[in-house]
């Protein structure tokens, strides 16, 4: 079963639109949603949680159509972390726990208390006095304490320092190691997603440019570095994106399948691939 399925989804607002978006996140996997600011990542997440109605297309989460009345019950199985905690700033961790106990039928107070201890979060301190790291840890503690099968994370690690980020990424790995658990995570920090994800989906100006298994994506492309003359010898269809350097040098993202087998190519990072694909699109 797929944890998330979006098929030909469209949503228009004034000068921005999500266009013909089709995306699948298989159960048991982590999918990283990548894109620049305003690419449509948060809109996609709002659409799939039915916080926003699509103009057309089909969306289902954990096998249930988001427009169906039963979807409200499916939200019990989904832990969501947004880019901020969005709890009222005068509340404290204990009060949040009480509210969530009345919200989620499978709320596990002991697990929540365990997360508060693990993250060293003060129980009676108001959120307005929390640091960003503490706020996000609390949001993650809430998302993980009601036995979710799917985590939807929208820039949940943005603005956190490396140590806290690594700690949180470790938690996500633990979560997905359990049977049938899945994650959709959007982030600007591509190195994190490269470490964490099984699938990469790249949104650019409301369109899905890439949606593929991470390892296959990394295998498909190679990085060319050479002179303009060497670059000119490449077939046009082999080049996915190009960057002209000083003194006649060229760096390019090359499709391995269309490049000469003897050509020496470096292994790209996800960040390289995404940057070159955006450049290639702008040049087209």
């Amino acid at each position: 079963m797929n944890a998330i399925e979006l098929s030909h989804v469209n949503k228009a607002f004034g000068d921005f639109s999500i266009q013909d978006l089709s995306l699948t996140v298989p159960e048991g996997t982590i999918c990283g949603l990548i894109g620049e600011n305003g690419a449509g990542k948060s809109t996609t997440i709002r659409l799939l949680m039915h916080a926003l109605r699509a103009d057309s297309g089909n969306l289902s989460v954990l096998g249930i159509d988001v427009n169906a009345p039963e979807f409200l019950a499916v939200k019990q199985d989904v832990g969501v972390v947004l880019d901020e905690a969005y709890f009222p700033e005068v509340m404290d961790a204990v009060q949040v726990g009480k509210i969530m106990a009345s919200t989620y039928t499978r709320w596990d107070a002991a697990q929540y208390a365990g997360f508060l201890d693990r993250f060293q979060l003060p129980r009676k301190k108001q959120f307005k006095d929390y640091s960003r790291g503490m706020t996000m840890k609390l949001a993650i503690a809430v998302a993980l304490s009601h036995a979710p099968r799917l985590l939807v994370l929208d820039e949940a690690t943005a603005g956190l320092d490396t140590i806290v980020r690594n700690e949180i990424l470790e938690l996500f790995r633990d979560f997905v190691s359990q049977p049938n658990h899945s994650i959709l995570i959007s982030s600007h920090i591509l190195s994190d997603l490269e470490k964490l994800c099984d699938y990469i989906a790249f949104l650019h100006q409301g369109k899905l440019v890439v949606s593929e298994e991470k390892d296959r994506l990394l295998e498909r492309y190679g990085l060319f570095s050479g002179t303009a003359e060497q670059f000119a010898a490449l077939r046009a269809e082999a080049v996915a994106g190009v960057e002209h350097l000083a003194y006649g040098g060229v760096r390019a993202l090359v499709r391995r399948a269309a490049a000469p087998a003897a050509l020496s190519l470096e292994k790209p990072t996800i960040e390289d691939i995404i940057l070159f694909l955006v450049k290639g699109e702008k040049a087209a």
């Binding site: 949680m49 709890f87 009222p88 700033e89 005068v90 509340m91 009060q95 989620y104």
Partner: protein
């Protein structure tokens, strides 16, 4: 919905302690207009709770959680009903030995409910900032009218007209609140369109 009401109570009791105390003071003060003022003030509580929600962007998170639009909207009405009924009850207890005190408290309760019915759809439609002017206007008109009505009730308390007046006001409060919730649910749903 219980969770949503509790969330608002936590926020309001933390932020509005002095105002809640004032509400009790108004409710127990002698004078008919003071009782109406207390219930009108109590009717403002859902508006205040929505303002805090907007400030913390709680709605963005609530939309991701297993709350229906109907639950989110009706929780604000339930919160308001609790505060308005509480103010009317305190007032009724304080004026238990005053002739006509109970009818007066009931009239004030109805005025508070009418204000909620008129204000909340506008707030759900336009948000707290844009709805503020309409809110102030409605509160002034209904509160002044309500205070006059309460004084009228007090002077007519010996006759049957006071009971009739309160009966019609109660009917108006119930019908307007049913219509108001229906409208607010539709307005709130539009935010997701």
């Amino acid at each position: 919905m219980k969770a949503l009401v509790w969330k608002d109570i936590y926020v309001l009791t933390r932020q509005m302690r002095i105002f809640l105390l004032l509400l009790v003071v108004f409710a127990v003060m002698p004078g008919y207009s003071m009782t109406t003022f207390a219930t009108v003030y109590a009717a403002m509580m859902p508006f205040t709770a929505i303002a805090y929600d907007e400030r913390s962007k709680w709605d963005s998170l609530a939309a991701m959680m297993p709350y229906s639009v109907k639950q989110i909207v009706t929780s604000k009405y339930v919160l308001g009903y609790g505060f308005v009924a509480g103010a009317a009850l305190i007032s009724a207890i304080a004026k238990v030995f005053v002739r006509g005190g109970l009818i007066l408290s009931l009239t004030s309760l109805c005025v508070g409910l009418l204000i909620m019915a008129l204000v909340l759809p506008l707030v759900f439609r336009f948000g707290v900032e844009k709805g503020r002017m309409a809110f102030v206007l409605i509160v002034v008109v209904v509160a002044v009218g309500g205070a006059s009505l309460a004084t009228g009730v007090a002077s007519a308390v010996s006759g049957t007209s006071a009971l009739q007046l309160t009966w019609w006001l109660a009917m108006a409060a119930i019908v307007s609140n049913i219509g108001s919730i229906w409208l607010s649910v539709r307005f709130y749903s539009r935010r997701m369109a």
